[in-house]
């Protein structure tokens, strides 16, 4: 029995979208970020949440957004979190780094930085992240490079950049960073671009083989439904929503994960309930923890993946009992 089937007292890590404000307008943004939302949490409210997360011994907070560095209190909030010994990972678009931010990150054992880049060339990257962004992102990576900052370059794998994955790995290495690849999911603005950017079965097969052949590529839990068994042994081989992780949005709403920020999955709001109460008892969380998609139960690989990514299944079919359409078993039949 996987340990994550037991209820954990708190998440292992949290994804915290600290703002919806972003200076970019990427076509695949899972949060559909642009302007800050009305009523985003204040600095004091954030500190109270951090106090509770520290009491619960949440180990790590992964910040995203929007662009976290656009939040006026973000750096003071990071400093506050670090006084509690909580590890932080900041996912940034790399275009708004300040000297103060780089100084805070440098040599800080509680900070990991992830810079988003969706192509090894401007031609590919800028189609997704916007005109001129490649140049600005590389400038940001250069500011962070070789400054004793655990650094990764994060790429959402799409049909546009699929052929550049090895170049992206080399580019990351050139700057002393690792490559992290994320799965493209139809959440946020990506719903409009899903058909244009999704991988086809042959590409899914190829990426599964590529991930199996190179265990230095970071994936988080992104590709567990297509992972071959070698990579599965590295852990994070199942959906961690409500079991290992959950998501806080800019106005304090709590969801099972960053890709399930939709009404049916709403767990509660931190202005009305404690985080612990939401984690322990939100009906949507209880439902998702026991999810075993009907379409998957008879599958010989069910014990390996427990039904793939519910976010992909839900946003494509509106049915949590549907199988993840990109799971290894589904596409492997279509590819010779």
């Amino acid at each position: 029995m996987k340990y994550a089937d037991w209820p954990l007292s708190a998440p292992v890590n949290i994804t915290w979208e600290i703002t919806h404000q972003c200076n970019l307008h990427c076509i695949h943004c899972l949060s559909a970020s642009s302007k800050a939302s009305p009523g985003e949490l204040t600095f004091e409210e954030c500190k109270q949440t951090v106090d509770e997360l520290a009491r619960l011994k949440v180990f790590e907070i992964n910040f995203g957004g929007g662009e976290p560095l656009l939040k006026e209190y973000f750096l003071p909030l990071l400093r506050y979190i670090h006084t509690k010994g909580i590890v932080t990972c900041v996912s940034t678009n790399g275009t708004v780094l300040t000297k103060e931010a780089v100084a805070l990150f440098t040599g800080n054992r509680l900070v990991n930085i992830q810079v988003s880049l969706d192509g090894a060339t401007a031609e590919v990257n800028d189609r997704i992240r916007g005109e001129g962004t490649f140049r600005n992102i590389i400038s940001g990576i250069e500011l962070l490079s070789r400054k004793n900052i655990p650094l990764s370059v994060n790429t959402v794998v799409t049909s546009q950049n699929f052929s550049q994955l090895n170049e992206l790995k080399d580019l990351a290495k050139k700057y002393g960073a690792r490559l992290r690849v994320s799965r493209f999911r139809p959440s946020g603005r990506a719903r409009q671009s899903w058909d244009a950017l999704r991988l086809n079965p042959a590409q899914l097969k190829e990426i599964a083989a590529w991930l199996e052949s190179d265990l230095s590529i970071l994936t988080g839990d992104s590709f567990f439904s297509i992972s071959q068994d070698g990579r599965r042994k590295m852990g994070l081989d199942m959906c961690g929503a409500c079991k290992l992780t959950c998501c806080i949005d800019p106005v304090g709403n709590v969801y099972p994960c960053a890709f399930l920020q939709d009404e049916p999955f709403y767990g509660g709001n931190l202005r009305e309930n404690s985080f612990k109460k939401i984690w322990d008892s939100a009906p949507s969380f209880l439902r998702l923890r026991s999810l075993e998609p009907k379409a998957c139960r008879a599958c010989p690989r069910f014990e390996s993946c427990r039904g793939g990514c519910p976010a992909v299944a839900y946003f494509l079919t509106k049915d949590l009992d549907a199988a993840d359409p990109e799971c290894l078993v589904n596409w492997i039949r279509e590819v010779p």
């Binding site: 954990l8 708190a10 054992r109 988080g220 290992l244």
Partner: protein
């Protein structure tokens, strides 16, 4: 002699590892790889047992006193748990 030395060594978490109590045992987190590891130690072990001040002998006595478990059983089972932790680099 080796047995005596093992008993006198204090258990300490590895440098980048944190630990917390769960209902079924202990959950460890290693920062460098963002990895978790667990042991189903029930009520036997606390995070404080790995703060560098508890020897194996101390821990066995503590478990026996709190839980009523037989010392022989603890002496058999506990090193297996701590060896797993050491093998997975959760302990120094």
């Amino acid at each position: 002699m080796a047995h005596d030395m093992a008993n006198s060594m204090a258990y300490r978490l590895a440098e980048d590892v944190q630990v917390r109590q769960e209902a079924w045992g202990l959950l460890f987190y290693r920062q460098a790889e963002h990895k978790v590891f667990f042991i189903r130690s029930g009520e036997w072990l606390y995070p404080e047992h790995f703060d560098g001040t508890w020897t194996l002998e101390n821990i066995i006595e503590d478990i026996a006193r709190r839980t009523g478990a037989l010392v022989d059983n603890i002496e058999t089972a506990l090193p297996k748990l701590t060896e797993r932790l050491t093998a997975n680099r959760m302990l120094l």
